[in-house]
């Protein structure tokens, strides 16, 4: 039982890691100093 709990926890972590890696990429925010106005015309 103890082994099963740890093994399935590792499985959960592995799945979560791959989902995060391929589907939830962190996007860099473009910051122009004052937050919103980049001065782009």
């Amino acid at each position: 039982m103890f082994q099963e709990i740890i093994a399935f926890t590792i499985l959960g972590l592995a799945i979560a890691f791959l989902i995060k890696k391929f589907f939830f990429k962190s996007k860099k925010k473009k910051d122009c100093g004052n937050g919103t106005d980049c001065g782009c015309s």
């Binding site: 082994q3 590792i10 799945i15 890691f17 122009c32 001065g39 015309s41």
Partner: protein, 699 residues
């Protein structure tokens, strides 16, 4: 006393040792390439300076002038003109090369016109004596209206003085060193009159450049002071001539070169290394040496790693209490990690050579040499940089295309770069070659396995340029181009820089690919250890019934049960589902599983097979290679990894786009899903048909 934070921007032409200065100031480990295009985005580091000053050091992409012609040059201009940017520099440090001062000073004079406090760094000072160069620093400081730090970033000389100058940046004069408005005084006077609160040179850049500016309506300026495109170009040329006249005058008084002392070794070497026949022969001889070494030098450490992981699996299986976790460790996680670690020696040897070539200055000669070939295929000489960087990873290589000015050439380079053999392909190639290509020598010294590996690298390169040729004909995009490449001096590679690069690239492979491989190995183990229905859950009885009339010993029985379970596990069912599609290529369902799992990242292939064969095999002590070698087709009894299947797999992985991250970066760089989709379909189709033809001809 409170800490004062300042922003310092490192600016300069490509290959002036800007990134080396950055490393010296920040102590950050970052690659320093001796060919253009290494810094493609702003890079940040921190440096503690005297008087409680903390400097945010920004390493900007190499640029020749403030007249942007490529994306990475626009990054520099946009930052220098946007005072609202939180990274806007308090002080600019322009890095120049003592041997190329004339050209390097152009951008310096432009930045001075923006009235930013600017320090001039004259780098590579250790070469002055050998080249017969003397500088009159006080004279240059007076004429250029700045402070000068004479630095050798490779030897760490002059860095402390540079830090002192940065701390006292407020004492550096702000005023320009020449007046650019003399190119058309009347026009500039009107301009200044209309926008009295703006810097004149900034207004001029607004009119001539297509970049974003803060607090200034570009359309308003452009509409009010319209000039025709040709007039603007003519004025820009006048401006450049004016600047070079000024630089010439300054250098006439401040720079002396004693030609008799300057040894002309560089010119002689260049004549040989860029020769239209010998240049290519030398290049291919070097490639040949690299690939021979990859196999010869890596054999002993690879065998050691392979057997160590096999023993570890066996030890875990025997010593830990039996159960699902022990099985996961011994059959999933340990073989999975082993499938990554085993390739460290080969990757380290590859990057050792690439770093030496970059550091020595030879790579720039390769760029120049290949330009002649590249042009015929619709690429630029600058495309060679991504194609060579692609041997590490296609992602930074695709980002390095930003210094290609022409959009069509850039797009084609982005689309064909993934054909270059990246480090993730190396494990696949290495294991398949060692299985199907004999380890013998021809003519007494040519290792056939090394030759095959080199052949695959050359194949990747030719696939890239042939695809470029087709794309050049198909894509209907028109734009003009020109090619400028920096020819740096030859330098003895620094052991420290080479060492850092090898360690960083190897670490990046382990950290990047390793985590994915480990996660996929764990999931695969579960999919291979569980299955639906009677065929899986009642495997023992099914085997007993099947062999009712045959006597099996305990080990044989266990292997038969394991095979029955694996075949009917979730992963087995998936592999068998795609078997009809891959059978014509010579692959069985187990290879099919490896193809599916390596779709997102090709380096997962070996780890997958290691896991699958570990689950299906009761002997934990066998190495990955021996398990693959022993694998036979149940119907014919022939080896699975025979010559035709091996070649078919090598070709499949040479051409297939098995990398989700590359698709993502292509989307980012082209701002469209159309191009990555095209890349995926084209490369996968080519891979399938090349593997199909090879297997059908060889079987």
């Amino acid at each position: 006393m409170s800490v004062q934070n300042i922003n310092v921007a490192l600016i300069g032409n490509p290959n002036t040792g800007k990134t080396s200065v950055f490393n010296q100031l920040t102590g950050l480990n970052q690659q320093v390439g001796n060919y253009p295009g290494i810094t493609v985005e702003k890079k940040m580091g921190f440096c503690k300076l005297p008087n409680n000053v903390k400097a945010n050091i920004l390493d900007l992409p190499g640029t020749y002038s403030l007249n942007a012609s490529s994306m990475d040059e626009s990054v520099v201009i946009e930052l220098l003109l946007n005072k609202n940017d939180k990274l806007y520099p308090d002080v600019a440090v322009v890095v120049t090369d003592v041997e190329n001062l004339k050209r390097n000073l152009l951008i310096y004079t432009q930045i001075k016109d923006l009235e930013i406090p600017t320090i001039l760094v004259i780098n590579m000072s250790d070469r002055m004596e050998r080249k017969g160069i003397t500088l009159d620093i006080p004279y240059l400081e007076e004429k250029l209206k700045t402070k000068i730090a004479l630095v050798s970033s490779r030897k760490g000389l002059g860095i402390d003085y540079l830090k002192e100058l940065i701390v006292s940046y407020k004492t550096i004069p702000h005023e320009p060193c020449l007046n650019a408005s003399v190119i058309d005084p009347e026009y500039f006077e009107k301009l200044q009159h209309a926008f009295p609160n703006q810097l004149m040179y900034k207004l001029w850049l607004v009119i001539t450049q297509d970049v974003n500016f803060s607090n200034l309506d570009r359309n308003e300026v452009r509409n009010t002071f319209t000039k025709s495109h040709s007039e603007l170009k003519r004025l820009q040329q006048k401006e450049t001539i004016k600047r070079y006249q000024f630089i010439n005058d300054v250098l006439k008084g401040g720079l002396k070169v004693d030609a008799s002392m300057a040894k002309d070794v560089r010119a002689k070497l260049d004549r040989i290394l860029t020769h239209k026949v010998f240049g290519y022969l030398i290049f291919f001889a070097i490639l040949f040496l690299i690939f021979q070494s990859i196999f010869s030098w890596s054999t002993i450490p690879m065998d050691f790693i392979d057997s160590t992981f096999a023993s570890l699996s066996s030890w875990v299986a025997e010593e830990l209490p039996s159960g699902i976790l022990t099985d996961l460790l011994s059959q999933g996680i340990i073989p999975g990690i082993g499938g990554v670690v085993i390739f460290i020696p080969q990757i380290a040897v590859l990057f050792l050579f690439i770093s030496i070539l970059e550091e020595s200055g030879y790579m720039s000669r390769v760029v120049f040499l290949m330009d002649k070939i590249m042009r015929r295929f619709g690429l630029s000489g600058k495309s060679v940089v991504p194609l060579i960087s692609g041997t590490a990873c296609a992602i930074p290589a695709i980002m390095a295309t930003r210094n290609i000015e022409n959009w069509k050439e850039r797009l084609i380079t982005i689309l064909v770069t993934p054909f270059t053999t990246c480090s993730a392909r190396l494990p696949v190639y290495a294991i398949i070659i060692s299985l199907v290509v004999p380890s013998k020598r021809v003519f007494g010294f040519l290792n056939v396995q090394g030759l095959t590996l080199m052949g695959l690298y050359v194949l990747g390169f030719f696939a890239a340029i042939l695809s470029a040729y087709i794309l050049n004909k198909v894509l209907k995009l028109e734009s003009k181009t020109y090619f400028v490449v920096e020819m740096p001096s030859y330098k003895m590679p620094l052991f420290k820089n080479v060492g850092i690069n090898v360690v960083e690239k190897t670490k990046a492979f382990i950290a990047g690919a390793g985590k994915i491989i480990l996660a996929i190995s764990i999931i695969l183990w579960f999919l291979a250890s569980y299955g639906p229905g009677k065929e899986f859950n009642d495997a023992e009885n099914i085997v007993k019934e099947r062999f009712a009339n045959t006597t099996l010993d305990e080990a044989q029985f266990e292997n038969e049960v394991n095979s029955q379970k694996l075949e009917n596990s979730y992963i087995g069912l998936m592999g068998r589902a795609i078997e009809p599609v891959i059978q014509p290529l010579g692959y069985d369902w187990k290879i099919g599983i490896a193809l599916i799992s390596s779709f997102a990242a090709r380096e997962v292939f070996v780890g997958t097979l290691a896991t699958i064969y570990s689950v299906g095999d009761s002997d934990n002590e066998s190495t990955i290679k021996s398990k693959m070698q022993a694998e036979v087709r149940p119907d014919t009894g022939e080896k699975v990894f025979d010559f035709p299947t091996g070649i078919s797999l090598l070709l499949f992985y040479a051409f297939a786009m098995q990398c989700a991250s590359t698709l993502a970066i292509t989307k980012k760089e082209t701002n469209s899903w159309k191009w990555p989709a095209m890349q995926l379909v084209f490369m996968s189709g080519l891979a399938y048909f090349a593997a199909l033809i090879a297997y059908q001809l060889l079987k």
